[in-house]
């Protein structure tokens, strides 16, 4: 090539540049056809367009230069640097020249755009800067997402080793929104990794400030990411998040997908894991309620069965028990629990077990999982496992802990003295919320569970039931002492008029004895029907019945006919007194009874027992 010729051409163009721009361009067009491989000519043409702010024409020149000369040329490399600086500049403080570069860049071919960016990315030292640069490119040129996003996503996945939080946030808050509508082709491994990272990020958000954040919004986003991953990997479409749908809607869909998927398929693994965590979160969220809320914590405990004389320990490892409704929220809780349990079982089948446990390890779910696993163990009646889990569980509330211990004790069969000890602890620590007496605490089923709300009434009711269940067995022993009959009557008051059968049995027994001594009568028997029943017994025996109902009355029973009149009078006074007490609130009364008569009751229940 004759350099003087090429210099001549450049000179001619430069001479005309200011006076006759079109002529200068005509010179350069001609020159380029004469010496197509000459950098100076191309660069001159580029400069001319750049000075005239013709970004479209300049882009053509730039394109040619970039394709012909790569980046070995200093002047070209400078331009590339200027260009990438312009792309990185914040949009509101961009100079006119930078604006030119940005506009030009948009007219440069994709091929060259890609080359330039990769070149710059590769020449940037810090990978967080590289990611930021790529992000910026995607934001400015959304159409380039498909080309550039795979690299960005890979870099983010790599960066997780250095600074997990920063890269997590970058992925979830910045990168993913850019590819929702422009899904790139990605390797399944990367997609799974990205989903796990996102999941971790969102779960941490939920755990970190449960109170402040709108968890529905977060779940919506998690499902969005899930759908995105599904779209990229061409999975069967799952359902979008809808807070009004129950988990059963998702479970049904999951089952449908499972039925058409290969064993151990990734789609099922991820869909089931998501649904598991979603159900688990709903479960935990509802269990714990909220401190500042009127919602009440719930704890999964063993329910009571109607056949109180049947050893409940005989019924384990059968069908999972039913969960009875207690409070309005208990319905949601049990639904969430059951679906979490179903997912857990699915994910712990051989096909998923390995992948699922690996996945779980990366997620900050430990506090939820340990509670869930304990509940799951007692749900399935796995006593030994439940005990083991209990010993590993962190105690956050001694009340809940004691309640769980009590429930576990009940699961093991008859309540032991140790189990009875938990009742004392529970009664000592009753919450301030009054609550309601529960329905369905006792059912005629082999086994059932309840979500007990942490309220005074529910807890006292539960403890009472536990004591009643143990104590009532004595009723069928010969010569059941008056003390036990009296104690049973006291306890039966709480749910009266439920379970009247036992009360009737007791009264029948008393009637046959023609004498009845129970010094706690005046303190604890206040139910009007019970008091009237005593009056009835008194009358039907023509007032000839040896009642010894008051501590102060102690000596009068050993009387002769002369004192009879006094006895009658005493009985009337006592009955009158008790009728006056008829409106006394029963829950504190019974709680007090359990507290005060703790040792006494223990004696009744475990006399001669070896049930420690």
């Amino acid at each position: 090539m004759d350099t003087s010729d090429e210099n001549y051409l450049v000179c001619q163009a430069q001479k005309l540049k200011d006076t006759d721009a079109p002529a200068a361009k005509a010179w350069l067009i001609t020159a380029k056809t004469l010496y197509p491989k000459n950098f100076n000519l191309m660069f001159e043409a580029y400069k001319l367009e750049k000075e005239a702010n013709n970004f479209e024409e300049a882009a053509k020149c730039f394109n040619n230069m970039a394709l012909t000369f790569k980046s070995q040329n200093v002047e070209l490399w400078n331009e590339i640097n200027e260009l990438t600086n312009a792309l990185r500049a914040p949009e509101n403080e961009i100079t006119p020249l930078q604006e030119f570069y940005v506009k030009m860049f948009q007219h440069v071919s994709y091929d060259v755009q890609h080359k330039i960016l990769l070149l710059t990315v590769n020449n940037t030292e810090n990978s967080i800067h590289q990611c930021k640069l790529l992000l910026l490119i995607l934001k400015r040129f959304p159409q380039a997402a498909i080309t550039h996003s795979p690299r960005l996503l890979e870099m983010i996945a790599d960066g997780m080793k250095q600074d997990p939080q920063k890269y997590q946030e970058m992925l979830v808050e910045e990168a993913l929104p850019l590819i929702y509508h422009k899904t790139p082709e990605l390797s399944p491994v990367l997609v799974c990794r990205l989903f796990t990272i996102s999941l971790e990020y969102y779960i941490r958000q939920i755990i970190d400030d449960e109170v402040k954040c709108d968890t529905n919004e977060i779940w919506k986003k998690i499902f969005q990411v899930l759908m995105l991953c599904g779209k990229i990997l061409r999975w069967e479409t799952f359902l979008p998040f809808n807070k009004t749908w129950g988990q059963n809607v998702y479970w049904d869909k999951l089952i449908e997908i499972v039925s058409i998927s290969a064993a151990g398929s990734t789609q099922v693994l991820f869909y089931a894991t998501s649904l598991f965590i979603y159900s688990l979160h709903c479960y935990i969220k509802n269990c714990y309620g909220r401190a500042d809320d009127t919602e009440i914590n719930h704890v999964l405990v063993e329910g009571f069965t109607a056949e109180w004389n049947v050893e409940s320990s005989d019924v384990q490892s059968m069908e999972p028990p039913q969960i009875s409704l207690t409070t309005p929220t208990s319905k949601d809780i049990s639904k969430a629990f059951v679906h979490a349990a179903q997912c857990w079982q699915l994910l712990n089948t051989d096909q998923f077990q390995r992948d699922f446990s690996k996945l779980l390890l990366t997620l900050p779910l430990a506090p939820w999982i340990s509670r869930f696993l304990f509940d799951l163990a007692i749900y399935f009646g796995h006593k030994e496992e439940a005990k083991k889990l209990m010993s590993e569980m962190m105690v956050s509330s001694s009340l809940i802990h004691n309640l769980q211990l009590l429930s576990l004790n009940l699961l093991q069969g008859n309540m032991t003295i140790k189990g009875y000890g938990y009742i004392k602890d529970i009664i000592d620590e009753l919450p301030t919320t009054t609550g309601h007496i529960l329905e369905h605490l006792t059912l005629k089923v082999p086994r059932h569970m309840i979500f007990i709300p942490l309220t005074q009434k529910a807890l006292v009711q539960y403890c009472t039931k536990a004591i009643l269940n143990t104590l009532s067995r004595k009723l069928y022993e010969p010569n059941c002492p008056d003390q036990i009959l009296g104690n049973l009557l006291v306890l039966l008051q709480l749910e009266y008029p439920r379970e009247t059968i036992m009360a009737e049995q007791i009264f029948a027994l008393i009637t046959t004895r023609r004498a009845f001594s129970y010094h706690l009568f005046t303190t604890y028997i206040v139910t009007i029907d019970f008091v009237e029943e005593f009056m009835h017994i008194w009358h039907t025996h023509n007032e000839d019945f040896a009642f010894d109902l008051s501590p102060t009355q102690a000596d009068s029973r050993v009387g002769t006919r002369g004192t009879e009149k006094g006895v009658r009078e005493d009985f009337r006074i006592i009955i009158k007194q008790q009728i006056a007490k008829a409106n006394e609130p029963l829950v504190p009364l019974i709680a007090n009874f359990i507290k005060q008569e703790y040792m006494h009751l223990m004696g009744s229940m475990f006399a001669g027992a070896i049930n420690y």
Partner: protein
């Protein structure tokens, strides 16, 4: 219906109703490509009213009756515009247009044609302009009928118009093929040595052409669109406006320093850069380029008489530069046909210029 019956029926009608009625009949005849003579008769008698009603005997020759008066001309133009605006195949419209104006273009018909096209431009009547574009190519863009139409459009829209009409500006959008052919023809009207003096085009015309090309760099190539003609009809050779407009750009420095010529020249180069040839080159005839050399030589001769060194004459230098640039780009993009080696030899006869030398050298060795 016999031919006589047709005529008999048409004669019952007054003008312009008879023209309106005659056109569909003419269309049927020309499309069927038989009884062409009958079509010619109908056109003459019922469209242009060239024969008296009782003198239909061809042997006696046409007796010119009083030509259409201005109002009747206007009525006829309306009828024709309406007819050509109707939907239908382009080929049919084109063949009717060619029958009306293709042969025997009497001064009256020529006048009507000019007004018709002018009206169609004003009204942006695309189908009619499309037919007119085909007509120009078939009669030859550089031939008298086309030149007359072009001249009349320039008069109507440039010379006698203070401001260029929007419709004229939009012409490339409405009828690109017609606009391209019009540029070819108009280019021939100016700076042409066949006219005794080299007249430059009006500035407004130059500007509008530059605007047309810059907004649509492939407009000059629109001439090459295939024509919609009935099967069997032969399309006449295409002449793009490139050669003519390049001549303007090359010869312009001798008349004017207007930057518009620089622009025109640049856009012509850009147009050539647009060309992607799959077959042999068709856009530019080497012979047309060689003719510019002749004109430059004449200018050199004049300079020499005035004892001016051509290499010192800025105008001459600029002309040669533009010529050299055009030749270089045309050869490079392979859009020039004809005898290129001969053209290069002709270029060598000009007083030497560095760029021209480079171009000749570059292309001789290739």
């Amino acid at each position: 219906m016999s031919q006589a019956d047709v005529k008999h029926n048409l004669r019952k009608l007054d003008f312009p109703a008879c023209a309106k009625e005659a056109l569909p009949r003419i269309e049927t005849i020309v499309v069927s490509r038989s009884k062409q003579n009958f079509a010619i008769q109908l056109i003459s008698e019922f469209v242009f009213m060239e024969r008296s009603k009782d003198q239909v005997d061809i042997r006696k020759g046409p007796l010119p009756v009083s030509p259409l008066n201005s109002f009747q001309e206007f009525q006829l133009i309306l009828v024709l515009i309406e007819y050509f605006s109707q939907p239908g195949p382009d080929a049919t419209r084109n063949v009717v247009f060619l029958s009306l104006f293709g042969s025997n273009l009497t001064p009256q018909r020529s006048k009507i044609l000019c007004r018709l096209v002018s009206t169609a431009v004003s009204g942006s009547v695309a189908p009619l302009l499309s037919s007119a574009g085909t007509w120009m190519q078939q009669v030859g863009c550089m031939n008298q009928p086309s030149l007359e139409v072009a001249q009349s459009l320039v008069s109507d829209f440039i010379t006698f118009s203070r401001k260029t009409s929007e419709q004229f500006k939009q012409l490339p959008m409405v009828a690109p093929h017609f606009a391209a052919n019009l540029m070819t023809t108009v280019a021939d009207l100016y700076m042409n040595e066949q006219n005794s003096a080299l007249t430059p085009p009006p500035d407004a015309l130059l500007d509008i052409f530059t605007e047309w090309i810059s907004e649509n760099p492939s407009l000059c190539l629109a001439s090459q669109q295939p024509l919609a003609l009935p099967s069997g009809a032969i399309a006449m050779p295409v002449v793009t406006p490139l050669a003519g407009l390049l001549r303007w750009a090359v010869l312009a420095p001798m008349f004017s320093n207007r930057i518009s010529y620089s622009n025109l020249h640049l856009w012509l180069l850009q147009t050539m850069l647009q060309i992607v040839n799959s077959g042999p080159p068709t856009a530019l005839n080497a012979q047309h380029v060689a003719q510019m050399v002749t004109q430059l030589q004449a200018y050199v001769a004049r300079l020499q008489t005035d004892n001016v060194e051509p290499t010192k004459d800025a105008a001459y230098q600029k002309s040669v530069e533009r010529l050299a640039q055009a030749v270089q780009v045309a050869i490079k993009v392979n859009c020039m046909y004809g005898n290129i080696p001969q053209l290069l030899c002709t270029l060598e006869t000009l007083p030497p210029h560095p760029l021209m030398t480079m171009v000749i050298k570059a292309n001789k060795t290739v």
